[in-house]
Symmetry: C2
Subunit: 137 residues, 2 copies
DNA sequence: TTCAACATGCAACAGGGTTGCAAGATATTT
DNA sequence: AAATATCTTGCAACCCTGTTGCATGTTGAA
């Protein structure tokens, strides 16, 4: 609990119970979470708008990053190396079609791609869908 | 115009002006289109719901495929090889941050990735964002 | 031309996401 | 410890995307 305060402070954020709860939810669940997921878990304590704004703030501060999948937008904790200025997000995301969970695969980088002449790449986003180890029968 | 009828017929679809217009829009614009784009272009002639249903039908028949990007969902024409039963979509999508267009890069396949033990991959979706040849100063 | 099957428009709805504003909480200074 | 400036929250209202039910209009084949 004290860790959460430190973590928020480290990003120049005031400590509020909503921010602590959202952050600790991201830390305990390891998978990517949508706003709806968080609202389901914390919605009795906080207004949905507050949860939206908390996500937006965490995004801006480099605490979480966006995860795209076919169902919409989710968010996951950034690795240590992310800050407000610089994000490091060339890792792969895996969505399991059985359990529906989407996870960051931190250790696996997106392989280089040789684009046609004239394309200047900046960001990469690779989503792989399939079956995760937990759901593999 | 006759080509459109043939194309629809080939997918067991009745010819309607909405389907012809949506299909010909996909063919003339080469980039991925959102429902909103189509509504902007055709919305005076057709109800938005009809456009939604046209997109859904085209998806099911393998005429178009989904394209994910950070702003939401778009659609693009499938290559010849796609049908209702089998889709072939291991190509890369490129979104230009200048002009906002998203395009299929048909000739470029997504490179193989060695996932950790236990993951069974089925679909791949790689979005690269950056600057496209047209917008490169 | 007739008719069943299919497609459309309209209305209504659910969900995701944003904004303005007044009231409440936080960190800092005195 | 109290006062204050600054930031955060809740609420209401709103827009956008996408879906569904149903009555009416069209299509293509007999
Ligand atoms: Mn990630
Ligand atoms: Mn494509
Ligand atoms: Zn799973
Ligand atoms: Zn461009």
């Amino acid at each position: 609990m004290e860790q959460l305060r430190e973590m928020l402070k480290g990003h120049q954020l005031r400590t509020t119970t909503c921010r602590e709860d959202v952050l600790s939810t991201f830390i305990s669940k390891k998978n990517a979470l949508s706003h709806g997921d968080l609202e389901g878990m914390l919605g009795e304590n906080y207004d949905r708008v507050t949860i939206y704004r908390t996500l937006k703030t965490f995004l801006e501060k480099g605490i979480i990053h966006k995860v795209l999948d076919d169902e919409g937008l989710r968010y996951a904790l950034c690795s240590q190396s992310c800050s407000e200025e610089k994000h490091q997000h060339d890792h792969i995301h895996f969505k399991c079609n059985e359990c529906g969970e989407t996870n960051c695969i931190e250790n696996l980088h997106i392989p280089a791609v040789k684009l046609p002449e004239g394309y200047i790449p900046e960001n990469f986003n690779l989503l792989i869908q399939g079956t995760c180890p937990k759901c593999k029968s």
